[in-house]
Structure formats: structure tokens, C-alpha cells
Amino acid sequence: MAKNRLRSALSRFVDIKPGEEVIAVFLFLYFFFITSPYYIIKSLRNASYLSGLGDENLPLAYFLTAILMGFIVNFHSRLQVRLPRSRLIIFSLVFFFSNIVVFWWLSGQGWKWVPVVFWVWANIFAIVLVTQFWFLVNDVFNPREAKRMIGFIGSGAQLGAILGGVLAGVLARKAAWLLLPLAAGMLGLGILVVSGVFRWQRQQTDKIDSEARDKAAKSTKVGFRDAFDTTRQSPYLMLLAGIMMVTLVVSTLIDWQFNSIVSFKVEGKNNLTSFFGYFNAGAMFFAFLFQLLLTSPIIKAFRIRGALLLYPLILFLGTGGIGLAALAGLIPLVPAILIKASDKSLAYSLNQSVRELLYIPISPEQKYKTKIFIDMFLNRFAKGLGAVILAVLLWLVPRAPGAQGGQGAIRYISLIVLAIIAVWVFLNFRIGREYANLVKSKLEKQYERGDLLVAQRLDVDYTKLVFDTVESKNRSSVLYAMNLFDLIRQDKLTPEVRKLISYRADEIRAASLGGMFEQTETGLGPKTEDELSEDVLKKDVQEIMSLDVYQDVMKDYLEKTLADKSAGAEVARMEAAKAIGFMDSRAPLVGKLEDLLEDGSPDVNRYAIQSAAALKRRVDVPVLVQKLKSPALREDALDALRKFGPRIAGTMADYLADRGEDNELRKTAAAILASIGTQEAADYLSWELTGAGVALLDEIIDALDRIRTADPRIRFPGETIRLTISKVTSLYCRDLVDLHSGAEPLGEDASRRREKQLSDSLWNIFKLLGLIYPQEDMIKAYQNLKVGTKDSMAYSLELLDNILERDIREVVFPVVEDLPLEEKVKKCRSLLASLGEGKDRNGRD
């Protein structure tokens, strides 16, 4: 009950599912209770450093932090190996809690080195605790969950920052001595909350995964070198590292500009502390609103790629403004405040969220190593690098033409910032693309198409011919010889087949063909004194059959044979049908094939159909098409028509398009076009998509899918496919609504039928998507949605989210997303309304 109320309250701000409310609140509070003390500490840090040492010494602070961070990373990774995550985090919180107490005492001593140490320590505090927080978030959530909740959870940081900032602002002038104890108290509450997180984790059913992750993290020896190598070896991680660096270099330069301008305008340590306190609070308030209300919608609407660009774009515009103001000889306090506020708020809301999402598809082992390197070491190294750049610039600026002290520095630094932002934007484009590729790589194909597997592993024609050969042994030596010859003709008389069809020695008659393949100790093979050259045999038979005299000699025989419809003459007619297939298609005797195709005996028909396939005469096509209606001959006729290939694509298209024709025949025409598999065949099938009834739609879509699988170069009309996706989605939605509307309960059979229709429609949607997007990706997405684990389903959706264009996403996602049934039905209803598709499968409203 309480959980339901909690979820209901949270759902106003966040897309939250049952079971997620507790962990969402815990993580929100965890982030809150590590950020609020930090913002108190940060205000104190800035104020004590600027008042004690001045802004010109800031590069030193950045530099020292960067240097020391390498040692911290190493130490932290050693601890990570030895301790489970829960213990490491709690240990770290307790450690920093005790540090605050020490600094509280030190702050009263007035020693000059304290501000430097405090500055460095404050940065370490932030980096270590925030990195550990994000490690935990990565452990708990998959990409889909993270995307939904990152806005809410991240807003804990903003609220914490606001509170910390306000407290610093208010208390700095009246009771500055209270600030550090307050920070310690908040951190203490953080320890309690984080214990709750780990208790929740232990209660979850997939605790095996988190134990495995902990085990992986613990057992992975991560030194600094290892973390660096892991990052270096992955182009994706190098991009992440690159983006982190440029972001922080820009941030450092902007930070210096801001501090420089503020220290010029605000005097006195307590005033500075107060200013920074209020400023941080204000910036974080804006960040909080942004995080809570805008981050998730922006990520959802623009996806990761779009969301990555917003932050640098805003900084670009702001920096441009500062540069222009400096050019005009102004000390641009307001622009500086605005750009710093933007930098701060976006860094800790949208940018942080998107950056954490970029980590999620990485393997846990890589993540642990690379986060240590990037978030801990590189974070500060980049600031150090920014400091070096700053120091160099500050040294150079007085020498630059037209420089005017502080304004000159600001002007030139703005230019440098603009250039670095351009690099940043380029890297963001690259990583956006790589993110989609990485998500793809998390999905495995679960199984291959059955018909493809059969086709790849089995030569069906060959198998049938071997069976025919073995069967004909008992019926007719002539037929047997012909089948053997057919195997030879197709270069399929393999040693295995010879063994299979061998005669025993005592069954051999000298004049029989079997003697040619007499079984020996070593298996079948021709006798050496009468060696059978297969090539010569093929040539001889062909030449003989093309002789005019042969055609004359055989003509009477064939006419007599065809005229004899008795059962005893059936074998003779089979032989005749088979033999005709060996002739040239222009030979006069081939004309007899038409009679044999109409023969009353299915066996005779079968051989005649095979010969028609070999001869490929267009005149035989209509008869073959009619044979499709016969259950006994359908498969043979289908095989035969397939062998005609592209020549009959137009004919098949005519059958497909003929609405007066039998539906089964039209479906077969679609299947034949699929086996033809040319661009022309694909075009014919695509043309029929828009007008196809439901009965035919499945077959046409399957045919297109098979063509696409066989030849990725084939192109399909995008607009038609999109319309068909909408159509099939409507069918799906209609079936779903009917199945679950509850108005009139369906019987068991009807329910099962509807379930099957739903399943078929879903598969059809993905087959269609595979025609306009990379097919392999769509197949993986479909299979993992159907049979995958919870995580692989999430990656499937994430992949679709990143690949599909907006209009298609809006149509398809209500159908594929993992929503509660009621919500899915609701979304289907509104989708049906928006598509204007109120009709059911039979065309009824």
C-alpha cells in the first residue's frame, strides 16, 4: 500500500515501474547526502583559496589535484580488488566524514598550506564519492531503466547542491564555523541511506548478478596501468575519455574566467564564501529543475546523440558572448555568471546523465576499470591540463597584440574555448554513432531461420534425386540408369551415393547398369577395364539425343507408350518423361512432355514436372502453375517453377496481382518470387503490399524478408514499407484490444488464434523493419525481445530507440515496449485512433 502511494507520487516526475520506487528513492537520497556536504565544502574551498592565495594561483591547485589523482586512482583500485563494493563505499564515506572533522580543526589554525590541501582534498572527496555513486547506479539498472530514472535520481544531486549552497550562503557571514559540522552530519545520513541501498540489493531476485558483478569487480586486478590499457584498447572508451577531457578543459577555462571576474568584483573571504554559496545554490536550483523536468524528456525526444550536443552548444554561445563583451572593453560579470551557471547546471544534469548512459552498454569489467581511469584520474588530469593551458595563456597574453590585461586574457581564452568546443562537438557526433554500435554488439542472434538452415545444410534436390534413384532400382533398370545419369549430370554422384545405391555382386547382370557400379571391397567404383568417364557419358548422351535419327527412332516408341494408359505401362511413361528432360528443349520429342504433364499417374506427372524444370520452356509454366493446386504434386511444381528463375518473375507477379485467383496460388506465386530473389521480384512483391489483404500480407512480407536475407543489396521502397508497418501495427493493436477489451470474452480457440495473430504481426513488423534498416539488427532485436533475458530485452529496445526514425518509433514502440498490459492496450487504442484504423482483420469496423 505504502509502496503504491510512493510510486503514485513519484510517477508525477518519473516513469517508474512497480518494484522500482524504493531503490529510486534510496539512490536519490544517497546522491543528495553526498552532494549537499560537497557544496558546503566547495564554497569554503573556493573562498579560502581565493582569499588566501588569489586567482593567479588557481592553476597550481588544478595541477596539484591532477597529479595526486593518479595516486588516488591507484589506491582506490587496490581497495576495489580487496573489498566488496558495499564495504568500499561505506568505508569511503566514513573516511571522508572523519576528514571533515580534521579540517574543521585545521581551519582554525590559520596555516597557509591548509587552503591548498583543502582544495585538493575537496576535489578528491567529490570525485571518489560521485564515481562510487555512479558505479552503483550502473550495477543496479540496465540502459532502459537508467534512461527512465536518471532524471529523478540525478535531481538528488541538484537538491543537495541547492541546500549546500544556500546553507553556505546564509551561514558564511553569521556562523561560518557551523558549516563543516553540518557537512559531516549530512555525510553521516548518507552512510545510513547507502546501507539501505545495499540491503535492497540483497533482497532482489537477481542478486546473483550483483554478486557476480561484485566478484568480477573484486577479482579484477585493476591497477592504474590496467585501467589505462583497458581504455586505450577500446575506441569507444577512448572517445569517452576524449570527451571527458575536452569537457573539463573547457570547464576549467570557464571556471577560471568566472572566478577571475568574481574576485575582481567581490571583496573579502566571507563575502566571497557567501557569493559562491548563493551562486552555487542558484545554479543548482536551475540544474534541479532541468534534471527533474527536462533531462529525461530531452533524452527521450532527441536520444543520446541529440542530447550530447545541447551542452556544448550552449557553452559555445555563452563563450562567444563573453568574448565579445571583453572585446568591447567590459568586465562581463553577468555573462560570466550565466555561462558558469549553464556550465554547472548542465554538467550536473543533462551531461552527467548522458555520460552515465554512455557507460551502461560497456561490460562490467571494462566499466570498473575505465571509470576509475576516466572519472577519477582523467577528470582531474583534464583539469590539470586545463590549468597548464591556462598558465601558458596567462603567460602569453600580456605579449599578445591588443591585449589589455585581464580583458585581454578573457578575450583570448574565449577564443581557445570556442575552438575546443568545436572538437568536443565532433567527438560527440562520433560517440553517438558508436553507442548504437555498442548496443548492437550486446545482442546475440538466438537462432537462424529454419528454411535458411535447411537450404544451407541440405541440397533438397539432391536428396530427392538420391531417393528417386534408390526407389527406381526396384521399378525399372532404365529409370534407375536415368536417375544415376541425372546425378552424374549434376555432378552429384558422390562416393557416399555410390555406396548407398550399390548392388551386390550376385545380383549383377552383365548387361545391367548396376554392373557399372558393382560394389567392391573398397566401395563402389567403375571397373578399370571399362572405366566410366562421367564427362564423356554426359556428352555422349547429349549428342545421341540431339541426332535427328534418334528423334525419328524414338518418335514411334514414345507415341505408342503415351497412348498406352494401362497400369502396366506406367513405368514406361515415367521413363519417357524422365528421358525427355535430358533432351535439348528444341528437340521435336520434347513436345510430348505436355501429354506427360497431363498424365493421370502422379508418378508420371512428377517425372514430367522434373523434366519441365530441366527444360525451362515457358509453354509449360501454366500447366505447372495448375499443378500447384494438387497436394501430391504441389512441392514438385513449386520446385520446378523456382528453377525457371527470373524469366517467370513477370508471370508470377501476374498471378500474385490477380485478385480473382485462388489465394493459395497467389501465396505460392509470392513464395516463387522470393526464391527468384531479384530486384524485379522484390519490386513486384512490394507493389502488392499496399493493396494486399490480410491473408496474403504474411506471405508477401515473408517473401520480401527472404529476398532481403539472400541479397542485402536489394532495395525496397521506403514509403511503402513504412505504410505497411503502420498497417501491420494497426492489425496488432486491433487484435490486442479485442483480446483484452473484456467486452465479450473470447473462447479458448479464438484466444489462441488471436495470440498467434499477435505473434505473427509482431514478427511481420520486424521483418518489415529489416527491409529498411540493417536486417541483422532487427532480427537480433526481435529475437532478444521474444526470448532474451531482462537485460537483453532492454538492449533490444535501446537499439531500436537509437536506430529507428522518429515517425516509425512512435508507431512501433507502443507495440514492442515492455509496458504493463493495461497501458499497452491503452496505447494501442490511441495509436489506432491516430492511424485512423478502426477496422478489424476482416475489414469490419
Partner: protein, 113 residues
């Protein structure tokens, strides 16, 4: 190729020797020899392939032409002791349906009656 004719009763037996192939056409072909016999009133022809090493489609054409000529005059033309390879070809091309083929000369000769 060498062709030697002998007679047994009123049956003409052609003993073929060597290779019957296109590139080896002699002055007188098998068909011509058969026709000569037919012109001489013979109506029973037996072709003996015991010593034939090779036969190509030209050779088969000769056989068939001889068969037609004999058949058209109401006669009978039969084959004896053809190779297994040739028999295979005759089977595949259905010529075994038309041509009478025997393994032994005695059996072949008896079959004319």
C-alpha cells in the same frame, strides 16, 4: 574400324572391331554395309560389339540409321556383346526400349526366330 561380315543361316553378323567414331570414318560406313545386305535381300542383321573399344554418338547414329533401314524393310536388327558403358547410354537414352541387346551370340541368333 574394321567390319567383317559373316553369315549364319540367313542372319548376317557384322563383327565390328576397333573404334567407331566420327574422326575415323572409313570409305564404307556401317550403315552402308547394312544397306548393301538389305539390298541383297537380307532381313536379319546382328551387330557384334565384342571387339569394339570405343563408340561415340556418330557410331550410335550409324547403329540407329541401320536399325531404321532394317526396320523399314520389315527386318530385324539386333546387337550383341555391347560394353557396359554403351549399355548404360542406351538405357539412359531409352534405346534399350527399341534395340534388342543380348549378351551372348547364341541367344541373339535364336531370338530372330
Amino acid at each position: 574400324m574394321r567390319i567383317v561380315a559373316r553369315h549364319k543361316n540367313d542372319i548376317v553378323i557384322f563383327d565390328l572391331e576397333g573404334e567407331i567414331k566420327r574422326s575415323d570414318i572409313t570409305d564404307v560406313t556401317l550403315h552402308q554395309l547394312v544397306k548393301e545386305q538389305l539390298d541383297g535381300g537380307k532381313r536379319k542383321i546382328l551387330l557384334n560389339f565384342d571387339a569394339v573399344e570405343f563408340i561415340d554418338s556418330f557410331g550410335v547414329g550409324e547403329i540407329l540409321a541401320s536399325y531404321i533401314s532394317t526396320h523399314n524393310l520389315g527386318g530385324k536388327l539386333k546387337l550383341v556383346k555391347i560394353s557396359k558403358k554403351l549399355f548404360l547410354i542406351f538405357q539412359v537414352t531409352m534405346l534399350t526400349k527399341v534395340l534388342d541387346i543380348y549378351e551372348e551370340e547364341e541367344t541373339a541368333l535364336k531370338s530372330f526366330f
